[in-house]
């Protein structure tokens, strides 16, 4: 998008900038929450987990402020065209970020339980890689937003596939652990929810990227993006721990 001219009412420009600055601030907090939640799990750091749980209130508060600002902007300025799309996308992105924050908080809660159990070998590094990828996706989505970069946003949308694949692999891994030793079930259930949380966070990052496409082009991208989360249609694992290949493509 070419550089927009300024509004005749300069206060309108300031309002639009202020609301977008709040989104970036919220994005920064949420990115940190993802990394901290993942770090607290890996390092079995209860204190850090507690920090993530408490930090969620600030994220929620920012969402509320953004919604109030957006409502005021709509009422007072009656935005149209790209201005309208800025306000609409800001509201949706704030909702996406708030949900990601909730998932991070939920991960941190489960960490509190998991530190009291013996670790499941190999799971932490996979979960860390997944959280890193999710955080990178979110960062790219927010960068694309602030730079109005549709190509980067499209890239984020396409890359969600990789997170889905990571989740698939973890799903099967946890299932295997649970079958091998029922004493792993509690820990693996929690770990599975953490993996699922990561997968959902990835979806919200994708949704932010879709908002970028809408903001710039005025059109929502096609739903025809690759999806690889097959676990909801998966039958489970065969007795030997081998995988049941799912013949139906998502």
């Amino acid at each position: 998008m070419t550089e927009q001219k300024q509004h005749i009412a300069s206060a309108f420009d300031r309002d639009l900038e202020a609301i977008q600055a709040k989104i970036m601030k919220m994005g920064g907090l949420v990115e940190a929450a993802i990394l901290d939640a993942s770090q607290s799990l890996e390092a079995r750091d209860e204190e850090l987990a507690e920090k993530v749980r408490k930090g969620d209130a600030a994220i929620d508060e920012l969402e509320e402020m953004i919604n109030e600002d957006a409502a005021r902007l709509i009422a007072l300025r009656a935005p149209t065209a790209s201005d309208l799309r800025v306000v609409l996308s800001v509201m949706k992105i704030a909702a996406n970020l708030e949900r990601i924050g909730d998932y991070a908080k939920n991960m941190a809660k489960r960490t509190g339980v998991l530190v009291q159990m013996s670790p499941i070998p190999g799971s932490h590094s996979s979960l860390r890689r997944m959280a890193r990828e999710v955080e990178r996706q979110l960062q790219d989505a927010l960068d694309a937003y602030i730079r109005r970069d549709v190509a980067l946003a499209e890239d984020v949308i396409q890359r969600d596939l990789e997170i889905d694949q990571m989740y698939n692999a973890l799903f099967r891994e946890f299932l295997t652990h649970m079958m091998e030793d029922p004493r792993n079930i509690t820990a693996c259930m929690h770990l599975h929810f953490i993996a699922k949380n990561n997968e959902r966070m990835g979806d919200h990052a994708t949704s932010i990227a879709e908002q970028v496409v809408y903001l710039v082009t005025g059109e929502t991208p096609d739903e025809q993006r690759p999806k690889q989360d097959k676990t909801s249609t998966d039958l489970g694992v065969a007795p030997e721990g081998s995988y049941v290949e799912n013949s139906k493509d998502a």
């Binding site: 070419t2 927009q4 001219k5 300024q6 509004h7 005749i8 009412a9 309108f12 009656a78 935005p79 149209t80 065209a81 790209s82 201005d83 309208l84 799309r85 005025g218 059109e219």
Partner: protein, 264 residues
């Protein structure tokens, strides 16, 4: 399978007015450049644009109001139901009965409310008897959404009404000759928000029977009342499309600058 809610498509109306390559000159000034536009029947079409962009000039070409200006010259063709209104055989007075007009400032005749409405039907011979004329007056005032306010004082002067009432009286007067098209040149700019709301409500009702073309400086008004919007800039028709598209996702950067209130 569930049907996609997007599958419902917009209703397509017949073309009422087709303008082809219209040029308007005031002396040496080229005021309207190469305008092509299709105005649909039973639709409200809004013309928007900054002052001096030619939207009122173009509106006035649609019922040959520019004929009254000596130095004004119109080229190209404007077809009303397929017939060129600038053809020599067309009588401008008859044309204006078909294509009515409402102006910016309410301009009732200095006559009674009744005579304001009855004037047009009388000169066009639309009523045979007094009862016929009474009928037309009542029907028109009802269409103008002002009947209930004036029915007890039909013989009071029209100029004694409030601004909003006067404007609705003028709309009633315009519909009294059974026009097919109603042109409105900033019909609400002299009215308060309540009178504006009433006139807008009225415009929406008129859409069922007429093709309405409205020039407005209020973009919110264009967004509220119209289905189609045309954006004029420096005598050019920059963009024409569905009102919802123009206000959410205009294609031309000049339209975008104008409707978002940026210096353009």
């Amino acid at each position: 399978m569930y049907d996609s809610p997007k599958s419902e498509t917009a209703v397509q109306h017949a073309i009422k007015i087709a303008a082809n390559k219209v040029q308007v000159y005031y002396g040496d000034t080229h005021a309207i450049k190469d305008v092509d536009v299709r105005i649909e029947d039973k639709t409200v079409t809004a013309f928007i644009g900054p002052s001096g962009c030619g939207k009122s000039t173009f509106l006035r070409t649609l019922n040959r109001m520019n004929d009254t200006i000596d130095i004004c010259r119109v080229e190209g063709e404007i077809l009303l139901d397929g017939e060129n209104i600038y053809d020599k055989r067309v009588d401008p007075v008859q044309l204006r009965a078909k294509v009515g007009m409402v102006f910016q400032k309410p301009n009732p005749f200095p006559k009674s409310i009744y005579d304001n409405i009855a004037y047009g039907p009388r000169i066009h011979g639309l009523a045979k008897t007094k009862a016929d004329l009474d009928d037309i007056v009542e029907k028109s005032l009802r269409r103008g959404a002002i009947w209930n306010e004036v029915k007890d004082r039909l013989h009071a002067p029209g100029t004694g009404l409030s601004g909003g009432q006067q404007q609705r009286l003028c709309i009633a007067r315009a519909v009294a000759t059974e026009p097919e098209v109603l042109l409105m040149d900033e019909p609400c700019s002299a009215l308060d928000p309540i009178a504006t709301g009433q006139v807008e409500e009225l415009i929406d009702e008129l859409r069922e029977s007429y093709s309405v073309v409205i020039v407005t400086h209020s973009m919110q008004q264009a967004a509220r009342v119209s289905q189609k919007t045309a954006f004029f800039h420096l005598g050019n028709l920059v963009e024409f499309g569905e009102t919802s598209q123009i206000f959410t996702n205009p294609k031309d950067p000049r339209t975008e600058s104008y409707i978002t209130g940026r210096i353009g």
